[in-house]
């Protein structure tokens, strides 16, 4: 794998003004360079490149088994990449644990919802907010004034987060008993609570009806505007991808086969081929 070979770049580093209005700052907030991983003899992801601006919403699409979730797992250090590097704000994440990567500023949701289902909705958010809590164990054990101050402060913060999706009324409910769509939204809020710079959403609209998807689209933009963060999402729902993403990469067999704006992608013959097969192109 030569480093000159840069045919698959989601957003070309060399031409940062591909989409002029995008705020790339001086360095991209999240960068992946020639990222790849092999499972035994199988190359799941190969030569994946990415550079995300600070407040960019990008999408990653591709058929089942294309390696989309694997890329998320590589970006959050669930898997150790076989090749390549991930840079967050210019810092290498190699050798960091999942927790450290989260503290550096990458938060994510999961394809199959992973909530703390026996805890209440508010507690779920508070676990995410725990990143910014600072009391020592002794302070909490003996319930010193500092403990109460912190609990009150973070209760308000949790409620503010819940307000984004208008979920305050669920605060005391058990997370596992929420409707499916609300569980997905809660997972996003929990991730937001860790104060990320980049938010990775793995199929956020899965199992949502069109009305809910519509609402989610607005909310994704709202989150970006309010928190000024970059969002990378995997999605099968094309209306969401096309409606909300500023750049889209198409993945097939672990490689980026096309990239560009949603319109470009929609008309790319290689994308149609990957999804529908050659016979479909007439």
């Amino acid at each position: 794998m030569t480093s000159e070979k840069k045919r698959s770049v989601l957003v070309q580093m060399e031409e940062p003004n591909l989409i002029p209005e995008r705020d790339l700052g001086h360095i991209p907030v999240l960068q992946a360079k020639h990222l790849g991983i092999d499972f035994g003899g199988l190359t799941a992801v190969d030569d994946f490149n990415l550079a995300m601006g600070r407040t960019e919403i990008s999408g990653l699409i591709g058929p089942n088994g294309a390696g989309k979730t694997t890329i998320f797992n590589l970006l959050t250090n669930v898997y150790k990449p076989t090749r390549g590097t991930v840079l967050l704000d210019g810092y290498d994440t190699a050798g960091k644990s999942m927790v450290q990567v989260n503290k550096m500023g990458i938060a994510r949701t999961f394809q199959n919802i992973r909530l703390f289902s026996k805890m209440t909705v508010e507690e779920n958010i508070l676990v995410g907010l725990g990143n910014s809590m600072s009391t020592k164990l002794v302070t909490d054990l003996f319930r010193l004034p500092q403990h109460w101050r912190q609990e009150a402060e973070f209760h308000d913060k949790a409620m503010d987060l819940l307000a984004i999706f208008d979920m305050q009324k669920y605060a005391k409910a058990q997370a596992g008993s929420l409707p499916y769509g609300a569980q997905r939204r809660l997972e996003i809020l929990r991730a937001l609570g860790t104060r990320p710079k980049v938010l990775l959403l793995d199929e956020p609209a899965a199992g949502m009806n069109p009305a809910e998807t519509e609402e989610l689209m607005e909310n994704i933009q709202k989150i970006r505007d309010e928190f000024q963060i970059a969002i990378l999402l995997i999605e099968h729902d094309m209306s969401l991808v096309m409606g909300v993403c500023e750049a889209v990469g198409v993945l097939d067999y672990g490689k980026i086969i096309a990239k560009g704006t949603p319109e470009e992608i929609q008309n790319d013959p290689r994308v149609i081929e990957a999804y529908l097969g050659k016979q479909g192109v007439n």
């Binding site: 999961f110 992973r114 725990g130 909490d140 054990l141 609570g193």
Partner: protein, 374 residues
Amino acid sequence: MEESNLSEAVESSAASTSGSSRKKLSMPVRYLINAVLVAVFIVVGELMIGSGTITRYQTTVLEQVGIYILMAVSLNIATGYLGQLPLGHAGFMSVGGYSCALFIMHMQGTLGLTVRDFVTGSPAAVVLFCAGLLFGGVMAAICGLIIGIPALRLKGDYLAIITLGFAEIIRVVMLNIDGVLGFELTGGARGLTGIPSYTNFLNTFLVVVISLFLIHTMMKSRHGRAILAIRDNEIAAEASGVHTTYYKTLAFVVSAFFAGIAGGLYAGCIGVMAPAKFGFMKSIEILVMVVLGGMGSMLGSVLSATVLTILPEALRAFADYRMVVYAVVLIIVMVFRPQGLLGTYDFSLTGTLERVINGELPWRKPKKEVDEND
């Protein structure tokens, strides 16, 4: 059922957010209510013991109830809250028991205390008692740390087996350490005798109350939430910034610490420590208490520890059948309530009081009315 839970919770939280009308107990009042109840319990207990209404034998049983409550609640940290299955809780109890007993026996001579001092409760004896318990707890916690770091890399059955093995190691060490060291320490198979009976109803009760309070406050803090998050979904916890290794070890160590304290009380209550008492069956007995009460419920552990300690004593009259009854009770509970008697339900006295003064009674639907029936 899930659905009704949800709507109930939504209703109640809607009521609490919308209604400034909902009366709340202030924090000092909440603590005062609980403190008064604890004081009343102690006074009543002491009076009944003093007047002989509760016999000496019954007092010993009560002390053991307290000890087993502490054992069950501490094991509940590792099983119910952390979601692991350690099978060596008796090991930590014996470490705590031996450490505490030996510490007190050796310091007793140095400080010139007699057995009488422990009964009358002279200040020096009280200090020594606290120091001994803490020493026992810390020794058990160190053992918990030593076993926890390797054991918590494993899950489920493997963790159960490694902790089981560790408890056996402790038992065998207690049995043979005298021979290896070449001087008298634990008394080997004969057991450690001559432990002053420093445990009584009052100090057992106080130690248990304080321990439960500390466990409660830990679980209701950010640390406790991190531990519960690991139980519910370890990967998600890690991705949310929860340092899983640290919190798993913390839960395990805290669990061992309180088991050690319970062991210290046990040594003073029984007066003799023998390795044979802390075998595999003891660990299982405590696990049964936790499972029966409901994993993750503190009240459940307290209730089932109480019942399962008193039941065998109460059934002594039917000596031949008591183990049968005990087994049948367990089977019936597990068949009809596999999640344990209380599941993960936890009881808050002041929370219940708040509901009562706000007229939110389970059998009454409208929420507006204020209570008439006190």
